[in-house]
């Protein structure tokens, strides 16, 4: 199985990657560090799965070469599952990217990372309700301390393609 680790630049993807694979990838606090992608192996349910650390991107309409690489990698791995890492404090624009990926039919789990920082800022997110509307597993995580990583791995096998129509319906329709 193939798993793609995707998300905005600077949301802690590389920390996730290191946690999930035990590999050594460094993360910088600015976009574009992972210009080359990195692959590693992780265990899901005792099975080996290949995990790819995709360069950070804000959307699937790439604006630079690093983002182009990200989009190309998504399209090359049609049968992959996606872990979409979102900065919990910036959930709206994170969901924007998640929706774009879901629209292309990829099964996904969402990690609301830096959950602790969001709590500090008094941002409350109803995870159960979010899960119900999107139809994909959502897990709160703190990658630096490792919180939620295990649950995320477990939820990965529940991930399945979602119909956007269902999300629209669950959210109460478009205006």
């Amino acid at each position: 199985m193939n798993v793609l680790l995707m998300g905005h630049p600077n949301v802690g993807k590389s920390v996730f990657f290191n946690r999930l694979t035990g590999a050594n990838v460094t993360e910088s606090n600015y976009p574009g560090t992972t210009v080359d992608f990195t692959k590693g192996w992780m265990k899901i349910d005792g099975e080996d799965a290949e995990l790819v650390d995709v360069p950070g991107t804000f959307s699937l309409d790439p604006k630079d070469k690093a983002e182009e690489v990200a989009v190309a990698m998504l399209h090359e791995n049609k049968d992959a599952k996606v872990i979409c890492v979102i900065d919990a404090s910036k959930i709206e624009r994170g969901v924007y990217l998640a929706l774009e990926i879901l629209e292309e039919g990829y099964p996904m789990v969402i990690a609301l990372n830096m959950w602790d920082a969001a709590v500090d800022k008094n941002i409350l997110i109803d995870i159960n309700n979010l899960q119900r509307i999107l139809g994909v597993p959502v897990v709160s995580t703190v990658a630096i301390s490792g919180e939620g990583i295990k649950e995320l791995t477990l939820k990965l096998k529940e991930a399945k393609p979602i119909k956007i129509e269902d999300i629209v319906k669950n959210a109460g329709g478009l205006t």
Binding site: T57, F58, S59, D61, K90, E92, R93, Y96, L97, I123
Partner: protein, 75 residues
């Protein structure tokens, strides 16, 4: 009152009412869209970029980009 984003002053807040068609795609991923509230943090001198806050995110846009975004000022 409506203004271009590039004309907003420090600390001013407003709601985006229009973004030039060609730019919409580009700024969408950064969370900037019609109907969103944003706040001007600072502007750099000599036609430098502007820095705005959208929710918890801080984004910097070149002046030529900021000219294409129209904002309804908070009164």
């Amino acid at each position: 009152m409506e203004k271009k984003l590039s004309e907003m002053k420090y600390e001013e807040e407003g709601i985006v009412t229009d973004i030039e068609e060609t730019l919409r795609k580009k700024v969408a991923g950064m969370g900037i869209r019609v109907g969103k509230r944003l706040k001007m943090i600072t502007k750099q001198p000599v036609k430098g970029p502007v820095v705005v806050a959208v929710d918890e995110a801080i984004t910097s846009l070149g002046l030529d980009v900021a000219e294409k975004i129209i904002v309804e000022m908070k009164s």
